[in-house]
């Protein structure tokens, strides 16, 4: 029997334990089943991922940016923040620009779960974000300001700059030195930096973290059902990562 067959899958585990079917309340198979079939140490070293239909039938696509130029500027900026190196892929290869684009088309972009009522005032830094602009507004403006800075400093498009020039512009944003309309540039930069890391490390179901390579670089195993059998281990556990997508069949 292969290592994999011996281990009950997450779905089977949840089904048998009654959680998936909702029979848990007042019941409790789980106590007996915990620990069953789970390896003492899990070592699946290679890069293989479970193929799901999703990869085949749902390619990445853009939902927010309409102009290629804007999407490419965003892509280059994220790659400067999280570049490809000898450890592994950078933001572009991980799909981070698609992650950000897709998020901007949803609740994240429209600040749907945030307080957006006026009046609006410039506050102290300790009072947090106070602009009337949504993230969608902020990215649209931010990306066009990156381009404007490139043109005015180097007479070139942002995407045609060399890395150091891009970094110089991003650093000015980071320091709050670029004048944006109704929004501090350091705020835009912080948001971009945070979203880049989110796209690198969120579950691949969000279109970033391609092939779970963000997780692989960090030795993070993603969505595992239990560490009960290895929690007391003195050795570092290298575990092949699992995505939530593996639960969708």
């Amino acid at each position: 029997m292969s290592e994999k067959e011996k281990n009950i899958s997450r779905r089977d585990f949840l089904k048998t334990s009654g959680i998936a079917t909702g029979t848990l309340i007042g019941g409790g198979l789980i106590g007996g089943i915990i620990g069953y079939g789970m390896p003492k140490t899990t070592k699946v070293p290679d890069k293989k991922t479970e193929k799901t239909n999703h990869n085949l039938t749902s390619p990445k696509g853009r939902m927010f940016f309409t102009k290629d130029r804007d999407f490419n500027i965003l892509s280059q900026a994220t790659e400067r923040i999280f570049p490809k190196d000898d450890i592994g892929p950078g933001a572009i290869e991980l799909g981070v620009p698609y992650f950000i684009d897709n998020q901007l088309a949803g609740n994240y972009g429209s600040n749907a779960r945030e307080y957006m009522q006026g009046p609006f005032f410039v506050g102290a830094p300790t009072q947090g974000y106070q602009s009337s602009q949504t993230r969608a507004d902020a990215y649209t403006q931010g990306v066009s300001m990156l381009e404007k800075e490139a043109q005015s400093r180097y007479k070139k498009s942002f995407v045609d700059l060399d890395g150091e020039q891009m970094d110089a512009i991003l650093t000015s944003f980071e320091k709050g030195e670029v004048k944006m309309n109704g929004l501090p540039s350091d705020f835009f930069f912080r948001m971009l930096r945070a979203a880049t890391l989110q796209g690198a490390y969120a579950d691949p179901i969000y279109s970033g973290n391609n092939n779970m390579d963000g997780w692989r670089m960090k030795n993070f195993p993603g969505n595992q059902m239990s560490y009960l059998n290895v929690i007391d281990s003195k050795e570092f556990q290298k575990i092949d990562p699992q995505s939530l997508a593996n639960m969708e069949h």
């Binding site: 450890i87 779960r113 300790t126 890391l197 030795n219 003195k234 556990q237 939530l244």
Partner: protein
């Protein structure tokens, strides 16, 4: 015109730990209880796909929708208070279970010192130890008065722990379940701190070590150390939370009616009694009146205070005159700590919310304060609660925060850093309080609650002291580089710190100095009860929920007594 429902014995506003405990006890005693909850129903079966850091830990899916309601904030009265537009400093609960669904499960008792802090501090250090702008006061009951209720809450939640803390108050029984697994990371902390002469013990945990059936017959499963705990619901029913304990207990009596999408906007009062509450169905926007013999505010620290303010019950605290008690003694907590960078990789991505060790050598009045310029202290802790890759990108201060060096270092350090924290007490201060905002409104037209809050001199001194302790411990643990937290200056509402807000509806024996009595019964209406960490007169160096749970059991006792005899319980 509002529609009026049939009168019930008890209505609770909100269904988290406090609302759930009150419901369980009152329904068991035969009272008819309605639980009004502005959020949705949810439970274990909703958490099957919960191992999603982005959705739950970063975008706060299980928490309060601040598009509808938030607070405004200013550091001082001289500023203009502005809305907290995005959640940050604290994460508010919403939906069945409240914050108890996605809490971490550290379940402490406060020290005997906490309940008599003013008396004991003055006795030992004299009347001038604490400047007069710090509004220190005793709580009106002692640790021993509360002990049976602590015991009850711990048994309901099946808390895992070991009775090895020499500084704790007397316990009437052992922890209901044995401590969690002592992992190599915890052993490292234990060894170092013992060598330094401190007394570490396993952190009392609501992420319980083994399957357990509580006295009400609810079953809590053994924790799987899955690493997605704080900010997540537990897919195994292994984290003690209201929806796997007190809520099913109340439901099985047949006396409990739970209503969701029910946002309470007013406590109705006539003369010296309340008659019920008015709520809005958040889907249809219909106004509905729920009459009740007793109203219990269980809507967390902030909304408990806000509902009293908008309903004009009690006197608003005024920092100029010192008059009024409502909104007074708002406190928070300090987060000292040190990150240690190591060479070897450790299993930091595994763990549970409350898998940890802790010590009280520098907490409360467990050490001599004669020569320090603060009182109280911090609980010092280490946990292995499951580091996740979006939130955890540790780098030393010499590394930039983005670009190639950052990427390399943050990836390398992810499995090679540990953190020792110090959870610092805060003392009430004249200028730190809650009131209603005069500009901003919630989705139902009510003013937002306004927080006026800043760190104090006492806070800065205590913080520094605790930070140093964590640094010494981390060095002893063998880290090659130790980076302590930056010193605190102004309180900043942006970065997450802790959801341990306290005060505003303080308890006591003197109606001029408290909002509720020691049964959490309102001084101005004896059929109105207000329970939660809002009852704390100051905040201790521990997480609040052990004490909140104990107070909720005490409150339930009070409500049941009141339902029989009426009148003031004190």
């Amino acid at each position: 015109m509002a529609r009026t429902m049939e009168k019930v014995d008890v209505v609770t506003v909100g269904v988290g730990w406090t609302g759930g405990i009150v419901a369980a006890e009152c329904t068991k005693a035969g009272l008819k209880v309605v639980g009004l909850e502005r959020g949705q129903e949810r439970g274990t079966t909703d958490f099957l796909h919960i191992h999603d850091e982005y959705r739950y830990a970063i975008r706060y899916e299980l928490m309060q929708n601040v598009a509808k309601e938030t607070v405004t904030f200013q550091n001082t009265r001289k500023m203009k208070a502005l809305p907290m537009r995005q959640m940050g400093s604290f994460l508010l609960g919403e939906g069945l279970g409240g914050a108890g669904t996605h809490w971490n499960g550290w379940t402490y008792r406060f020290l005997p010192y906490d309940f008599e802090i003013k008396t004991l501090t003055e006795k030992k250090y004299g009347k001038n130890k604490v400047p007069k702008d710090y509004l220190l006061q005793d709580w009106g009951l002692t640790y021993d008065d509360l002990e049976p209720y602590y015991d009850k809450f711990e048994k309901t939640a099946g808390i895992s722990g070991e009775n090895k803390n020499p500084y704790g108050g007397k316990r009437s029984s052992e922890y209901p379940t044995p401590p969690m697994v002592k992992t190599p990371i915890l052993e490292r902390f234990e060894k170092a701190t013992q060598k330094m002469g401190m007394k570490p013990y396993m952190l009392p945990a609501a992420t319980i070590s083994t399957t357990y059936t509580n006295p009400d017959g609810s079953k809590i499963n053994g924790c799987q150390y899955c690493g997605y705990c704080e900010r997540f619901g537990c897919e195994y029913g292994a984290k003690a939370s209201p929806e796997v304990t007190v809520v099913p207990t109340a439901l099985k009596t047949g006396n409990y009616d739970l209503r969701f999408n029910a946002n309470v906007v007013e406590i109705l009062k006539q003369g010296n009694k309340v008659t019920g509450v008015k709520y809005i169905d958040t889907l249809s926007l219909e106004e509905i009146i729920q009459p009740a013999d007793a109203v219990v505010l269980t809507s967390y620290v902030l909304n408990n205070a806000k509902l009293l303010m908008v309903s004009k019950i009690g006197e608003q605290y005024d920092p100029d005159t010192g008059r009024g008690t409502l909104g007074k003694n708002y406190c928070y907590q300090l987060n000292a700590g040190s990150t240690g960078f190591f060479d070897e990789q450790m299993n930091v991505f595994m763990g549970a919310g409350a898998l940890g060790m802790t010590l009280d050598d520098w907490n409360g009045d467990n050490f001599d304060h004669s020569d320090v310029n603060f009182i109280h202290g911090s609980g010092i802790w280490i946990t292995q609660s499951g580091n996740r890759p979006i939130a955890k990108n540790p780098v030393t201060p010499d590394v930039p925060s983005w670009g190639p060096e950052f990427k390399k270092a943050s990836i390398y350090n992810f499995t090679r850093t540990l953190y020792v924290g110090g959870q610092g007490a805060t003392m009430p201060y004249k200028e730190n309080y809650m009131s209603l905002d005069d500009t901003y409104k919630d989705a139902y037209g009510l003013p937002l609650l306004r927080l006026t809050y800043n760190f104090t001199e006492q806070d800065r001194n205590l913080f520094k002291f605790s930070n140093d302790k964590t640094e010494e411990i981390m060095k002893e643990m063998g880290a090659k580089t130790v980076v302590p937290e930056n010193v605190i200056e102004e309180y900043d509402i942006v970065p997450y710190q802790t959801t341990h807000n306290t005060g505003g509806t303080i308890m006591g024996v003197d109606r001029d100095k408290s909002v509720v009595n020691t049964y959490l019964q309102h001084w101005d209406a004896d059929n109105l009860f207000v329970v939660g960490a809002g009852n704390f007169n100051h905040n201790s160096g521990y997480n609040p929920t052990g004490t909140v749970g104990a107070l909720a059991y005490r409150c339930a006792d009070g409500i049941i007594k009141y339902s029989k005899s009426g009148g003031s319980l004190v």
